[in-house]
């Protein structure tokens, strides 16, 4: 963060003031856009969440203040709590696998070998594909009859394991998690790789001379030194796994029945399918809680790092 003290004005007072004025003008257009299309809508959402807004009154007309009625309606809906549970399972499951797989890949790619950069970049394609594309793709891969994964299972003689992954309520959540993990692994790898590169190689050499084996070097050097980066990566992962929408919407639309209706899809449905605008807004406000908490932790850590580790 920029320390906010005045510039030393030794003799250049007026250019410095002019510069500052221009600086504010530089910030203005961007901030205006964010105010109009981000901040105001969010406040408006808060407003809607305590009002009765219907399709007929959407574009104007009487919108009655109804206090916390929308919130009460949301929290007394079993469907909401079902979505909360799904979101928790989806997020934690995704995080666990994309982090451990990403870590394993980062350890591999931290070693110098020919074509390292090329292969690493290729892996990133999974993360860069538009979520709608990866969603459609995994819908096809997990298809009951001709999907690649079932074909693969049949090809190796595991016919009993073939399954209609996305239309069985018992496995649909695992199916969308699988796709989401695939998308998330490269990004975890990339950030963890940056962390691995900051570890002083002399530490490993000294440990090797002292007779520490590979496992011991990993446990005593890599793991403890990677802890701060890991927490950051997990926090970032939590923030955007919790709000995943596109992939699930495209793969299952929240179904079958409501087996994959995580919170973001719940909000979408209440708002855009049932047109209960006030209630949907209230659910949206509740959906904000987790990212905001995780974000507060993240910013707190960022601040601590910049204070302790010099300028960012």
């Amino acid at each position: 963060m920029t320390p906010d003290h005045r510039s030393p004005a030794n003799g250049h007072r007026s250019p410095a003031a002019r510069r500052r004025r221009q600086g504010y003008l530089f910030c203005l257009p961007g901030l205006v856009l964010l105010a109009l299309f981000l901040a105001y809508p969010l406040f408006y959402n808060l407003w809607t969440s305590v009002h009765e807004v219907q399709l007929s009154t959407l574009l104007g007309g009487p919108q009655r203040f109804n206090g916390l009625a929308n919130y009460r309606a949301v929290v007394s809906d079993p469907g909401f709590w079902h979505s909360v549970r799904l979101s928790v399972v989806f997020t934690l499951g995704s995080l666990l696998f994309q982090f451990t797989l990403g870590f394993a890949l980062a350890l591999l790619f931290a070693r110098p070998f020919p074509l390292n950069g090329l292969l690493r970049s290729l892996l990133l394609i999974a993360w860069l594909l538009p979520p709608v594309v990866s969603g459609t793709l995994f819908r096809w891969l997990l298809d009951a009859e001709s999907g690649a994964y079932n074909a693969l299972l049949r090809a190796v003689g595991l016919d009993t394991l073939t399954h209609d992954w996305l239309t069985d309520p018992g496995t649909a959540l695992a199916g969308v998690m699988f796709a989401n993990i695939w998308v998330g692994v490269p990004f975890n790898m990339l950030l963890l790789l940056v962390g691995l590169h900051t570890i002083d190689p002399e530490l490993y050499e000294a440990a090797a001379i002292d007779g520490a084996g590979a496992w011991q070097r990993f446990r005593r050097i890599t793991l403890p030194l990677m802890r701060p980066v890991s927490v950051t990566v997990l926090l970032l992962g939590l923030i955007y796994t919790f709000k995943v929408f596109d992939t699930i919407f495209v793969m299952t639309g929240g179904g079958p029945v409501d087996a994959t209706r995580v919170l973001s899809l719940y909000v979408y449905e209440v708002f855009f399918a049932f047109f209960r605008f006030g209630r949907g807004s209230a659910a949206g406000v509740l959906l904000l809680v987790v990212p905001l908490l995780a974000g507060a932790l993240y910013v707190h850590r960022l601040r601590k790092e910049t204070v302790e580790g010099g300028p960012a």
Binding site: P3, R6, Q22, Y44, N45, F113, N116, I125, L288
Partner: protein
Amino acid sequence: MRPPRHPWLLTLLAGVTTAVFLLPVYWMAKTGLTEPDRILTPSPQWVPTPLTGENFDTALGYEGLTRALLNSLVIAGGVVALTLLLGLPLGYALARVRMRGSGTMVFALLVAQLPPAIVLAAPLFILERRAGLDDTYLGLIAADTTLTLPFTVIVLRPVLRAFPPELEEAALVDGCGLPGVLLRVVLPLTVPGVVAAAGLSFLLAWGEFLFGLTLAGDSDVQPVTVLLNAFIGQHGTAWGALMATATLISLPVVCVFALFQRFIVGGLTAGGVRG
């Protein structure tokens, strides 16, 4: 780390891992190139013979696909332009000018990346409707820019800050205003960072779905991501054409990434929460 004793063994291991990991992408391209009646078989071909462009023909024959591809291009191009136009001065001022409240602004930009898109899409749906901005390019570009702008500024700020200030000071003393310094001194020397920001904004905007779905769902400005999703319902079993469409949508992504790969990886690791 010490140089490994058998570097090519590691290459082999990494190569196999990458191949297994990217199997889905291969499967997408492969399905798009397979003859339609050979796609839905219990034991699919691993290598399609003969290769066929039939699915691509079918896909491009769908009403509205070319239009939707063009829409996405217009929207993503607009987002990149708007993001750079607003983000460059903002990032520069936050990196270089000592202002009261710049700490708060950086904090606000971090927080701006936290709300899930659906929480934004809901009120925007009402507000843009009232303002007549729904079903317009402008409405979509502005909505998408709320995702790319905070990210871009956070990626650009360290880049602009790492730039040696002496040159700017000299230009300032010579009577160059802040806009002149940014355009003539800073910008030419920070091209990689700016290219990374532009590339990432393009990728985000090209792949954006939810705003397209809610703010321009079935109109003339509908982006191709929304159309692809609509196809799944309508042509649910036409996997060949679907995968051909998915491949078409992926091509610009892969091209942009291949062109600016180094810059983009640098920009990504420079930090920031992705919307």
